[in-house]
C-alpha cells in the first residue's frame, strides 16, 4: 500500500533531472520532497506503534528503502529516522522521546556522529571522550564522515566515558543540539549524493540530561540501530540494482549496432541473464536479513552480515556490468544509471564493506 504510493510518488516527482538538481543544491537534499514524503507516511513506517509510528519491523524498513533505492533518493531517511530517530526511540527519556513526533511529521533532522578517522568500520573504537564534572559533561574529539550533520537539528555523538579505546563498555551517547559552542562542522557533498561533515568537538559542554540512556552502555543500542540500518542499506541497494537491471534490459533491447539490438548478441544476453540470477539471490538475502531483524542479536547479526556480504558482491557486479553493457552513455552524469551505480557502490562504504561483513559472518557462525 505504502509501497505503491511511494513508488508512484517517486516515479512522478523524482526524475533524473530533479534529483540531479537536488544533489547540486547547497543543502544536498530537498526540504519539499522531505515534507511530502513525511506526509505520505514514509518516516512513520520506520517506527513502531509504541514509538508513535505504524511499522518499524524489518519488512517495513526493507519495503520503504527498496523504493527509495529504486529512485536513487538522496534525502537522509537513514540518518534522521533509522539511526538518529532509532536511538532516541530506544534510549530517550520522556523529554527526548518527544522529538519523535516532530521527526515523524518531517520537522526534525538528525545525524549520528559515531565514526572516527581511524575507526574504519569498528563500532567499539571510540576515542572521543566525555568527562563529567559538577553535573556537566564535556566532549572532546573528532568524528568523520557524519552524514547529514549540517542539516541536523541535533547530533547524536558517541563518546567514551571509561575503558580503553576499543572496549565495548564505556561508550555513551549524547544529544548535542546544532550550534552548541565548541562544535565545528566542515561540510562537503558526498560522491553519491547527500552531504556529510567532519565534526570537531572542542570542549563541547552539555548538561548531564543530554545523555541518551545509561552511561557507558551505548554500544548495545548502537549495534541495534546499525543492524536496522544494514537492512535499510541492503534494501536500498537492492532497489537501486533493480533500476540498473531494468535500464540495462531496455538499453539492450533498443540500442542497435551492426544492424540489430545489442541484446541479441549472446555474449551480452548471457551476462544480462547472470544479473537476473544474482538479483534473485540479492532479493532473498534482503528477505533473510529483514525477516531476522527481530531475532536475538546473535541470530540477527549473522543474517545481517550474510545479507550485507552478498549485497556487496552482487551490487558491484550489477553496477559494473550495467555500465559496461551500456557503454559510454552510462558514464554520463545526466543518465540515470550513473547515479544509481554510485548509490550501489557507495553502500559498501557504510557500516562495513563486503570483506568486513564476511569476517563478521565467519566470526558469528563460528560462535
Amino acid at each position: 500500500m505504502l509501497q505503491d504510493t511511494l513508488r508512484r510518488y517517486l516515479s512522478d516527482k523524482y526524475d533524473t533531472k530533479t534529483r540531479n538538481t537536488i544533489i547540486d543544491s547547497d543543502k544536498g537534499f530537498s526540504p519539499e520532497i522531505w515534507a511530502e514524503l513525511a506526509e505520505l507516511g514514509v518516516i512513520g513506517a520506520l517506527f513502531t506503534e509504541e514509538q508513535g509510528g505504524f511499522g518499524g519491523k524489518g519488512f517495513d524498513l526493507s519495503t520503504v528503502f527498496e523504493e527509495l533505492g529504486r529512485a536513487g533518493v538522496v534525502e537522509p531517511f537513514l540518518d534522521t529516522a533509522v539511526l538518529g530517530g532509532g536511538l532516541i526511540a530506544a534510549l530517550g527519556n520522556d523529554e527526548q522521546q518527544a522529538l519523535i513526533e516532530d521527526l515523524i511529521g518531517g520537522g526534525l533532522q538528525l545525524a549520528l556522529a559515531h565514526g572516527e578517522p581511524v575507526a574504519r568500520y569498528d563500532l567499539s573504537r571510540v576515542e572521543t571522550t566525555a568527562k563529567e564534572s559538577g553535573g556537566q559533561i564535556v566532549l572532546n574529539g573528532r568524528k568523520s564522515v557524519v552524514v547529514n550533520a549540517e542539516a541536523a537539528d541535533h547530533l547524536i555523538v558517541s563518546a567514551r566515558e571509561s575503558g580503553d579505546v576499543a572496549d565495548a563498555d564505556g561508550i555513551s551517547l549524547f544529544l548535542v543540539p546544532a550550534g552548541t559552542s565548541g562544535l565545528t562542522l566542515r561540510g562537503y557533498p558526498m560522491f553519491a549524493g547527500g552531504h556529510a561533515a567532519e565534526v570537531t568537538l572542542d570542549n563541547v559542554t552539555l548538561p548531564a540530561s543530554a545523555r541518551l540512556g545509561t552511561a557507558g552502555k551505548g554500544l548495545a543500542a548502537l549495534t541495534d540501530v546499525i543492524a536496522r540500518a544494514n537492512v535499510a542499506l541492503a534494501a536500498e541497494s537492492l532497489g537501486a540494482m533493480e533500476t540498473a537491471v531494468e535500464l540495462t534490459r531496455d538499453y539492450l533491447m533498443t540500442r542497435k549496432q551492426f544492424g540489430r539490438p545489442i541484446g541479441t548478441f549472446q555474449a551480452l544476453a548471457h551476462r544480462y541473464s547472470d544479473l537476473l540470477i544474482e538479483m534473485e539471490q540479492a532479493r532473498s538475502a534482503v528477505i533473510n536479513g529483514a525477516g531476522h531483524l527481530e531475532d536475538d542479536p546473535a541470530e540477527r547479526d549473522l543474517h545481517g552480515a550474510s545479507m550485507r556480504n552478498l549485497i556487496g558482491r552482487v551490487g558491484r557486479l550489477v553496477a559494473e556490468e550495467s555500465i559496461q553493457m551500456h557503454g559510454g552513455i552510462a558514464m554520463t552524469k545526466e543518465y540515470e544509471l550513473a547515479h544509481i551505480a554510485k548509490r550501489i557502490v557507495m553502500t559498501d562504504h557504510r557500516f562495513g564493506d563486503t570483506d568486513y561483513h564476511l569476517e563478521r559472518f565467519i566470526e558469528l557462525s563460528a560462535a
Binding site: G115, P117, V118, R120, Y121, D122, R125, S144, V145, V147, A166, R186, Y188, P189, M190, F191, A192, A196, E198, K256, Q257, F258, I262, F265, A267, L268, R316, E320, I323, Q324, G327, G328, A330, M331, T332, K333, E334, A338, H339, A341, K342, V345, M346, D348, H349, R350, D353, T354, D355, L358, E359
Partner: protein, 396 residues
Amino acid sequence: MDLNWNPEDIAFREEVRAFLDEKLPKEIAAKVKRRGDLTKADMERWHAILNEKGWLAPNWPKKFGGAEWNAVQKHIFEEECARAGAPRIVPFGLAMLAPVLQKFGSKEQQDYYLPRILNGDDWWCQGYSEPGAGSDLASLKTRAVRDGDHYIVNGQKTWTTLGQHANMIFCLVRTDPDAKQQEGISFLLIDMNTPGIEVRPIILLDGVHEVNEVWFTDVKVPVENLVGEENKGWTYAKYLLTHERTGIAGVGFSQAGLESVKRIAKAEQASGKPLIQNPHFAARLAKVEIDLMAMATSNMRIISRAQAGQAPGVESSMLKVKGTIIRQEINDLARRAVGPYAMPFPSEAVEGDNDPIGPDYAGPVSSAYFNNRKLSIFGGSNEIQRGIIAKVKMGG
C-alpha cells in the same frame, strides 16, 4: 626468454629516470598523483619540456623529428612516466593522427601539420564515434558532400576527448552513402574555428568535463584537408588502430596504482592493525599483483616480438582486455582500502587551499574507480576485443 634487461635498456631507464627527476615539474606530478584536474596549460607545459628533449614523439621516425625508439624503450619510458606521476601524453595529434599523416598524408600536409603537432601549435581531437556509431563505428553517418573546392560537412560526433581545448579535429566522414559501409568513409582534417561547429560538454559521472559532443552544420572544409584518397578513410583509421599499441596494457599505470594501494593499506587501520595485514584485503591485493606480474611478462613478450618486426595483432586485443581488468581491479582495491573516506566528493570548492577532508590519498579514489570504468569501454570495448580474438583465432 631472457627476463633480464640488457645493459642498454638499464642505462636507458636510468637516463629516463634522471630526466624525470630533474624536469618533471613537481606541482604537475603532485596534481597527477592526487588526480587533480590538469589544465590545458599544464599539459602544454609538459609537452614542451618533452619536445625540448626530443622525447615528445617516441614512435615517430627521426626524419619527422621523432625519437624513433624501439618497443622496449617506449615501454620503459611509459613505465617510468607512470611511476613518476608524469601526465599522460595527449595522444590525439602525436600518437593517433601523426602516424596516419606520415603514412598516407601529402607532403604538404606532413610539412605543415607535423611540426605544429610537436610545437604545440595545434591541439587535435578525434572525431570518430557518433551517437549511433559506437562499437559499430563503420555505421557512422556524418556526411561530407563535395561542393567545388570544399566539402560541406553535416552531422554529430561524440565522446570527443578534450575537444574543449582543441583547435583541430580529424574526422571520419561519409563521402559515399551508396557504397558498402566501410568503403564510403573519408578522413578529413577540420579547423574547429570554422563556422558551423559547436562543441557541447558532456559531464561524466565523477563530475569532470573531459569529453564533448561536436556538432557540424554546413561546415566548409577545403578539399586539401582530405587525407589520402576519398572513400579510403576506413583503411587509414584501421592502420591507426593496429599501429601503436605497446602502451595498451597500461602496465606502468597498474604498477603505479598497485604501489599506491599498498601505501594506503599500510596507513589505514582495520581493527587496530594496518589494513595490509588483514587477510581478506591482503588476499585481494596478492591476487591482482600475481596477475600483474604475469601480464607484465606477456606485455614484454609481445613487445619483443614487435621489436623483431612482427606486428602485434590479436595480442593487442588480449593485452587490452586483461590490462583493463587489472587496472580496474586496482581502482576497486583503492576504493575499498580507504573505507568510509571513499564517500566524500572532494572538490576545489571544498578543499581549495585547505587540508584534504580525510587522508590525502583518499580524495581521488572514488573518482578513479568510476572514471576508469571507461577503460573497458573506449578504444574498442572489451566485448569488441573478445570478438576480434575469436574471429582471428577461429579463422573467421
